[in-house]
């Protein structure tokens, strides 16, 4: 497929802009560009076809099964989009004043109230733009808490080795030293390893529960108790909240602050580059450090972003919460867990799970034995799935499992879809034994065959240049 710049013909155009009805003003000398910008020139029909062609080459959750582990690629109900498209929300200006933004503030306050109820927190902000920004905000709460008490010796944040890479990155960005602790053989926190690193220099612990291999850490109360006993705080990464929302509350597990990716768990399509939104919640004793929009509260408040954050994502989240309600939210979580366990057991017998026990909303397959036997890697299986119209699962993550494939079917998939997916995995398992070369070269029917990932990483071509 040609790029839009390559389709450009000088002089072609679309008459999409209305006629200028104000006086034309020239930019002052010195502010004018010297060359004409290299913008593509196309007719409207060619432009429409270009984007439709791009659309056909993309695989989204609206096209088919998308079990990308840890990303929660659930189907997002259309009603949430409708609510976010209401002109009263899309047309509002952040400086419109208290009277004209009363409805918007009710959205923020109501969403905050419900999310506090779900997480067991007492205060919530929607300022952060997305997950990692939310983590950064959350860990800064911990930092401010220690700073205010004059406790300067707490320099370390503990992160298990199965954590999302953003956790250690966040701790480092906040100026902390990262202490990695190994997971126990069952994939959960190793209590002895935790005890060994806890001390007077512990600022806090960052944890997801269920963890990154999709298992609920049954020692969670003991873990948070130990961290608190050492004087540290506990930070909950809401990456896997979809498994437990409305069922068990991070606040009750002993966590002091939390972030949630609204674009993942609460109905905003994601993976396309944003915008996302992150809710950061905390217990009452951290509330004084929580950032808020200066417009929503009294001036002088801490802020991590302009105004109220990505407001329309919060509108979608609230619409989702209101349509599912108190009964629907835990039901969604339970169905996500049920779907994951069903798919895992249907695939088992061919590719084996890394941990043979009841999983939460996602599970990890370990293909290391299969690779030794057949030479077919997790990458080969992932690429082969593309030929069946399925988005590949997450590969080679978490790193504590070799040749990992991580599947998260989410609650919105039917039994028929899960049966179909399991059948494909079983088929590929047999195919790899018979014809490994065929799988080394997969996909065979996709728009793009196997790209040279090594060359792409070593000599990336990052933008089009006029020939």
């Amino acid at each position: 497929m040609k790029l839009i710049f390559e389709k450009s013909v000088p002089g072609r155009h679309c008459d999409l802009l209305p006629k200028c009805d104000v006086e034309k003003v020239e930019l002052p000398e010195g502010f004018r560009r010297e060359t004409v910008p290299a913008l593509p020139e196309l007719s409207e029909v060619d432009l429409a076809r270009h984007y439709t062609e791009l659309n056909h080459r993309v695989h989204g959750v609206n096209c088919g099964f998308y079990p990308l582990g840890s990303c929660t690629m659930k189907y997002n109900p259309r009603i949430d989009e409708d609510m976010a498209a209401l002109p009263g929300f899309t047309g509002v200006h952040p400086l419109a004043g208290e009277k004209n933004t009363a409805g918007c503030r009710e959205v923020l306050d109501t969403a905050a109230k419900y999310l506090c109820e779900i997480t067991g927190m007492e205060s919530m902000t929607f300022q952060p733009a997305a997950g990692a920004h939310g983590e950064f905000t959350g860990v800064l709460l911990i930092k401010q808490y220690h700073a205010k008490r004059g406790d300067a010796k707490r320099r370390k944040i503990i992160v298990p080795d199965s954590a999302h890479g953003t956790n250690p990155a966040t701790a480092a960005m906040c100026g902390y030293e990262v202490v990695n602790i190994p997971s126990a053989p069952d994939g959960c926190v190793d209590l002895e390893a935790l005890k060994a690193v806890l001390g007077e220099d512990t600022a806090g612990l960052m944890l997801t529960n269920p963890n990154t291999v999709g298992l609920f850490d049954e020692n969670i109360l003991e873990i948070t108790r130990l961290v608190h006993e050492a004087g540290g705080l506990c930070y909950y990464d809401g990456a896997n909240l979809n498994a437990v929302m409305g069922v068990v509350r991070p606040g009750d597990m002993g966590f002091d602050c939390i972030h949630m990716n609204l674009h993942k768990t609460f109905a905003t399509p994601h993976g396309g580059g944003g915008p996302g939104a992150c809710a950061v919640g905390c217990k009452a004793f951290l509330k004084e450090f929580l950032p808020h929009s200066a417009l929503m509260d009294e001036p002088g408040h801490l802020q991590v972003r302009a105004f109220a954050g990505n407001f329309l994502v919060v509108v979608r989240a609230l619409a989702y919460l209101l349509t599912l309600g108190r009964e629907g939210i835990p039901e969604a979580a339970k169905n996500a867990v049920l779907n994951a366990n069903y798919l895992m057991r249907q695939i088992q017998g061919s590719f084996e799970p890394a941990f043979d026990r009841i999983c939460m909303h996602e599970f990890v397959l370990d293909l290391s034995e299969y690779k030794k036997e057949t030479g077919v890697s997790a990458l080969d299986v992932a690429k082969s799935l593309i030929d069946y119209g399925m988005h590949p699962p997450t590969m080679y993550f978490p790193m504590i499992v070799h040749e990992a494939l991580m599947l998260e079917p989410t609650e919105t998939e039917s039994k028929e879809t899960l049966d179909w997916a399991a059948e494909i995995f079983r088929e590929l398992y047999e195919l790899g034994k018979k014809d490994p070369d065929f799988m080394h070269n997969a996909p065979h029917n996709a728009q793009i065959a196997r790209p040279d990932e090594v060359r792409a990483a070593r000599q990336p071509v990052l933008r089009w240049q006029k020939g």
Binding site: M395, E453, V454
Partner: protein, 123 residues
């Protein structure tokens, strides 16, 4: 898999060879094989201090980014800048491609012999 007997190994998959009091450090054949194609190497600066058991840089493969853990405490006296343009050398010849050289070595991790390291990798 290759485990040259004349080298010492760390549990984090680095190899070490002492040359006139200078520690020459690279990654093992097992490490490069597990990483897959290396696409980028992040090196320390000459003069940086290293601590035994702490990262001194990282390697990025198509799969993931991994820390390079230094088996010795000392001061970096030379880095293999050739790797910045040709990281694939770590895959092609892991034992012929050193990453850093460390002088003023004051501490060394408990290192493994080739035999012990092989046992560690294959168990």
């Amino acid at each position: 898999m290759n485990y040259p007997a004349e080298l010492q190994y760390s549990r984090d998959h680095e190899w070490l060879r002492m040359e006139d009091g200078i520690a020459v450090i690279g990654i093992s054949d097992f490490a490069q094989s597990e990483l897959g194609d290396v696409v980028f190497v992040n090196l320390p600066e000459v003069g940086d201090d290293t601590t035994a058991g702490e990262p001194f840089g990282d390697v990025e493969s198509v799969k993931a980014v991994s820390d390079l853990v230094c088996p010795v405490t000392g001061t970096v006296c030379e880095t293999n800048e050739e790797l910045l343009d040709a990281p694939e050398k770590l895959n092609e010849d892991p034992y012929g491609t050193w990453i850093i050289k460390v002088e003023k070595v004051t501490d060394t991790e408990d290192l493994l012999t080739a035999e012990q390291y092989e046992a560690e990798c294959t168990h």
